[in-house]
Every structure is written in C-alpha cells, then in structure tokens.
Homo-oligomer: 444 residues x 2
C-alpha cells in the first residue's frame, strides 16, 4: 500500500507487465511525501521538489508524463550566517577565514574518502559511532562544524548526533557523495518540475486503480492469499507491496506477527523532522539586490533558505526548519512562528522581506502518514537488523525510498525501490503473462 512515488512506480511497472494492481492509500491524495499547496494563488511543492542530474529515473518519468524541468535559481551573492557573524560570498566557497576554509576542505576530502570506502568496504565499526562524535574529534573549528551540521540537518532532517557514521556515509555513497547532496548545480537541488512534483504523482496515478482514504490497518497472510483490512473495506491479493517508510510498516497489525528481525528493524528507523516555510512576495527584491536568495545559517530556527520563485515567476523564498528546531516548532504559536521566520529573513534580505503577500508552512512531523521528512535513518547499532530491510515476509514485499540502493531518501530512490519490488512480485508470477494475478500496493 501507499500511493507515494514508490507505490505508484511499482503499480505502473506491474501494470506494464500485465498484472492486475490496486493501490491503497491512507491519505485523501496521492504523492506521499510529495505534495503541493496553494499560497497567495500560486502552487508550491511543500514536499519533495528537486531533481538532480544523475537521477535518471526521475528524468525519464518527468519527460514520459509530458512535464518539464526548470533550474533552481542560484545566480547572485549568497549569505552565510555563521556563529552570529553575517557575511556574503559568490560561487560555492563560503566566506570563512582561510584557515577555516582549509579545514572545511580537509573535512570534505576526509568524508569523500570515507564515502568511497563506504561504496566498497564499509567498516562495521562506523555503525557504533555518531556523525557528531566523528565531527567533534576530526573538525577543530566550531565554524566548520557548524557548517557541516547545517548541511546535515537539511539533508536528513536530523542532528549529527542522530546519525551513525555508517548511515551518513552510506547515504552519501548512494548519492554522488556528500557534496552532491548539498549542492544546487550538479547536485541534488539542481532542477524543479515546472508543473510541480505533485503533478508528476498525479500523472503517475492516472490510469491506475487508486483508493484514497484506505489506510491499511491490518494485513493477514495466515491463509492462501493476503487480506488487507483498510478504512475503506477489505482487499484480497496474491502479493502485496508495502511502500511505506519502515517505521510505518510496524504500525500495521500483522497476522502472523512480523519476524523478530523485521520487528526490531522497524523500531530503529526514525524519521527526520522538517518544516518547509514559504514566504511569497510581490517582487523578487533579493534578486534586484544581487542576492541569490540562498542563506546558510548555523543557528536557528531557519537552517537554509532558497529562492523558491515558481516557473510562472511568482517570487518566493523557501526556508527549512529542521532537526531539533523542527521538533519544537509546533509548540510555538502560529503568530510567533511567523514572526521568527520573518525576523530572520529581514536580517538577511532587508525590511521588504518582512512584508510577504503569502505565507505557508508544512510541518511533516505533524502528518501521521509520514511522521516526519525527508527520510528516515537507521539508528546506531542497527546494522544487524539490516537484512530485514528488503527481505520479503511471506507474500509481502517492501518498497519505499528507504529501501533504495541508489539515491536512497530521494524521489529517485522511491522510484527505484518501487520498480525493484515490482520485479520481485512479477518474478513470483512467472513473468508478464498471467494477468489474473493481483497485487495490492500501499504507499505513504
């Protein structure tokens, strides 16, 4: 179940192979962690939005569905708000004193070398250490640590103390390295979908049998087929693909109970916390001032900010509240949250930033069908549980970006995982020639 990109990709692939597929979705919409919202009359991607140059499946899907890409705006001067000091810089090299720049470069080289090792011979000892510990013992400058922490927070929605070194390096390795995760041009933030990523999810869902509002509460495979008990009735299937983040798969009532290794695994994959905040303006005044709109901030509540002007040229800034700041965000009153955001934007872009014509937040930790964003990560010491990540349980197969081998955590990984799970299911049916076989797919 699940009509996120993983579930939709799996359903499309099974349909292509001639199998009968039903997609069951808990929410009232498709897309999972891909969603859109109208703010001041324009559509914004409040969930997954960027596509990188090596995310080939996403490129293929976008063009197959007649959608278009446009580049993330990055022209102009960038702002660094580091340990209370505001500075500006051009290009990719932050405005730090030379000695700190050298240390930053040395840290990135070190991480790069470790990431290369993670591709071939990962060290099991990395599973027992956190990225925060690594950083504390390998990076001397607090500024450089602050910069690395800011990048990590936005990429994972987590603090460095929450990530094992193994997870961090494995995630970087599944992408094109740590820098590719952080960069715009050539990196994971290069392009956006003109029509919005949610339009892609809707296009993928068109032609599929998708049932929204059908949260799967229980899966019973004690008989010869699988019974799925949902808020919208009971379905029966020969095979099921569960396309959910691991922790949500543990919230289903399973008959029989999940195998021990899987049960322990799903308790050990918490979601990051991310709030996306959009401020829409009458004009892109920061561009007029020669600024790109990009800010990296080592403090809180906003960690990074980007130009989020739409393809239809509605000017906007997008800021990320992430990690511990995001967890506490919902405790603050709405007006206070708005004030805190605008105060930061005014500090960086001047008084005009304080007068948006539209303002919208998306707090993913408030969404029970995601529990956070952008992705979930295994905790320290969970390496022994990993064999259960993709291992089918009876007639149930697992998809979701957390199960991807390449670009895990991204929309690209979601699609890869859906296609891989579909291939597993198709193989059980002996190829593409048994259209009577049925599958149910769930995603979130």
């Amino acid at each position: 179940m699940g009509a996120g990109l993983a579930g939709l990709a799996a359903a499309a692939e099974l349909t292509r192979r001639g199998l009968q597929v039903v997609v069951l979705e808990a929410r009232g919409r498709v897309g999972g962690r891909v969603a859109s919202r109208e703010i001041a009359g324009a559509r914004f991607d409040v969930g997954g939005q960027w596509i990188g140059p090596t995310q080939h499946r996403m490129h293929r899907l976008v063009s197959a569905h007649g959608l278009d890409l446009f580049p993330q705006w990055h022209a102009g001067t960038k702002i660094l708000d580091c340990q209370g000091k505001l500075s500006r810089y051009e290009g990719d090299i932050p405005s730090l004193p030379l000695v700190h720049l050298l240390e930053l470069q040395r840290s990135l080289w070190r991480l790069d070398a470790l990431t290369k090792r993670a591709r071939t011979t990962p060290d099991p000892a990395w599973d027992r250490s956190t990225l925060a510990d690594w950083s504390a013992s390998h990076v001397r400058s607090a500024r450089v640590r602050g910069l690395l922490t800011a990048a990590v927070r936005v990429i994972f929605g987590m603090e460095p103390a929450e990530l094992s070194l193994l997870r961090f390096l494995g995630y970087s390795a599944s992408a094109d390295g740590f820098l590719s995760l952080a960069e715009i041009v050539g990196g994971a933030q290069q392009d956006k979908v003109v029509q919005g990523t949610h339009a892609l999810a809707e296009a993928m869902a068109a032609g599929l049998e998708v049932h929204c509002g059908a949260a799967v509460r229980a899966i019973d495979q004690s008989g010869d087929s699988v019974h799925l008990h949902t808020d919208a009735g009971v379905w029966q299937a020969d095979r099921v693909i569960v396309a959910l983040p691991p922790h949500l798969t543990g919230r289903i009532a399973w008959t029989p109970a999940l195998p021990q290794l899987r049960e322990q695994l799903v308790q050990r994959w918490p979601m990051g916390a991310t709030v996306k905040v959009f401020a829409v303006y009458e004009r892109p005044f920061w561009r007029a001032a020669g600024l790109s709109g990009e800010v990296v901030h080592t403090g809180g509540p906003l960690t990074v900010t980007f130009d989020a002007t739409t393809a239809e040229r509605v000017p906007a800034l997008l800021s990320f509240v992430v990690g511990d700041e995001a967890r506490r965000w919902g405790q603050r009153a709405e007006g206070e949250r708005r004030r805190a955001v605008l105060e930061s934007l005014v500090r960086w872009f001047g008084p005009e930033a304080g007068r948006p014509i539209g303002f919208g937040e998306e707090d993913w930790a408030r969404e029970p069908w995601s529990g956070g964003c952008p992705t979930s990560s295994p905790v320290t010491g969970s390496l022994a549980c990993m064999p259960a990540l993709r291992e089918p349980v009876g007639r149930v197969h697992w998809a979701g970006t957390e199960t991807a081998r390449r670009w895990t955590g991204f929309m690209e990984g979601a699609v890869e995982s859906g296609e891989r799970a579909a291939a597993e299911v198709a193989a059980r049916f002996g190829g593409p020639t048994r259209p009577s076989a049925s599958s149910a797919i769930g995603s979130a």
Copy 2:
C-alpha cells in the same frame, strides 16, 4: 490501556481514590512483560522475575497480596567463558589475570563516577556518544570490554552500540548504579516471587474491571471526552492512562495526531531483544558439582545463565539470548536452537546438562504487544525529544516503566509510573471525592 504492572498499579491507585476505572488489555492475559509458562509441569517466570532489595514498591505489593519472596540461588562456583577461555571463580570477582581485573575495577569506578554525575548534572554531550565508543576508547583489554558488553546485553537486551552513553548512565543512576543492575545479592537479581511474578499481576488485577483481547486501535479526543476504539468495542472516558512502551503508543491511530515532539519521540525508543531459555532437569546436578549455575559468556548465543530452580525445588537452568543474537534467534529452526543451547550448557556443566526433561523458550521480539524485552531505550541524539516522555497529551497520560524516574526498565519502575500517572489523573478530578469520573487504562 495496558494491563501490565504499570496499568494495574495505576488502576489500583485510582480505584483506591474512588474513581471508576476500566483496564483495556490487548493480550488474552494480564501482566504485559510479566508472564509465566508451564515447562515439564512446573511454572516459570518467562518475563520479569527478579526483585532487588531497594525496590520498595515491589516489596510492598508482594506482601500486600500475600505472596512470598525467595532468594535467587547463588551458592557455589561460577563459570566465566571469556574470549573462548573457560575458568571458574568464587564470589563476585571474575577469574581474570590481575592486570585485567585491575582494568575492570578501574572501568567500574569510572562508570560509577559518571553515574553519580548523571544523577545531578548529566552532560548533554553524552547523548551523542554510544557506550560502545566510550568502551572502545576507555577500556583497553578486549576481555574486560567483553565482560562489560555481556552485562550490558543482558541488562538492556541491546548491544553497547545501540545505547547512548546518556541512556546507559541515566539508567544506572535510576537504579543503584551499574553494579546493582548486574549483581544478585544486594542487586536487581536478588529475590524471586515464590508463586511467580505473574501471580502478582493476577492478584493486582483481581477486583479491577479488566477487559482482555481489547487492543486499543484508535484514540479519539476530538470531543469532550476520549473515545477508545478497541477490538472489543468502543469505550468512553474522561481521562486515559496509556501504559505502554513508547514505541507502541505510536502504533495507535490518534485523533488529533500526536504532537510533533511526541511523534518523533515514539520513533526513537526501540525495544531490546531478549529470549529466555529454560532447561528443566531431574536433579540439580550442577549444585552437586559445587557450581552455582551462574555463567557469564562473552560469546553467543547464551550470554548469561542462572540457576532457575523453582521454590518447589524443580531444578532448572535459565539462559539469556540477547541483543543481536536474539534478533537472529528466530531465523534458526527450533531443533537447531535447542541443540545450540544444550551444547553450551554441556560445555559448562557436563553431559547431564544435555538431557533436560523440559525445555522452553520465550522470544519477546516475536510478541507484537511488547516488540522485545526487557525495556526500550532512547537512541542517540534524542535528548531534545525527552520533554514529551511524560507530558500529557490532552486527556491522555503516560505510564509504563520507560517513564519511571527510579528503577526505570524494571517492574519497580512500572509500578512507580502507574502510581505517578494515577496521581496526575486524580489531580485533574480535584481529589479523591468524585467517583463518577471515569478513566480507561491500557497497558501491555
């Protein structure tokens, strides 16, 4: 909900204060992680079983319900199976070369000093480091590390890489220090209940309105009272105490959704993994050979073994399969598991150990209403989520041993937490004089 010791203690306390209470329990029995099973005609505690001398609430309950204690057997020579080397020792000091004994002592002193600091001024930096990292950098001898690891595995059901230093020290501080967690005499393994701990749970449940088979699937507090949707119908209450381990509270469908901090918290409290294995014999041959039955083993699959002879003198040995070994345990065939256990017991106690008249295992990670044992622990980097641990959500209050301040993780902590949550609820009703007010309690 939940008729484990926390839920039962809460219900008893509310009843005593004149409130009307219903206890909803998912399983077909009360007790939660306290359970008993018949093996070779005798009753064994397959869940929580030991009571330490400073666990005053448990002492009070045992005597209030007319039950009795008897001491854990510990007379005789003990066995140490360390890094492949078998040796015997008397008293509490393991048979290690002097240099290793000195290092063990130094490590324990260090941990003791840190535990004392944890009681007054815990260091937030402890949240970012694992116990495995601490051990790797502070304990030179592999044998001593092996011994500490064995103790940690049994105490938490987890590997040192899974525990933050903060959790380890906080847990030790909530008990009487690390040694009290590991020791028999004067420690957490001192006494057992003659009639079995499950008899205590049953005695506590007598006189309460307990509904078994009433798994709470959804809690709706969008109206003026709380509606609990269970497998056995819908209940309505003014206040609810949820007496479950944190991760299970996340598996309930909440209306409205849980606050963000709580949602993130419940994803960050995985359960340990523990299998208790009992071998029942015709005679206590190890005692005849001068052995206490106690074995500490730094390898697998059995980590520690104890004499488990019942108060009625049915001779038995109890072994623990814990941590990573426990997670993989269920993948092995039953016969293979039995063979592996008996091979170890024969290695330690001679050929007679290979001929039990009864054999029984309890694999708690296979139980969806616990998801593991003995307790769950927050992961690294989760300190920021902690304020949500006991903070009520609307009309819902939290109990369960994980929420206890003293002896957290133990039956004692469960009772403390239930009494604390009951006091919270009673305070909302303005004292003990409003018998019309109703509460539902769930435990697992």
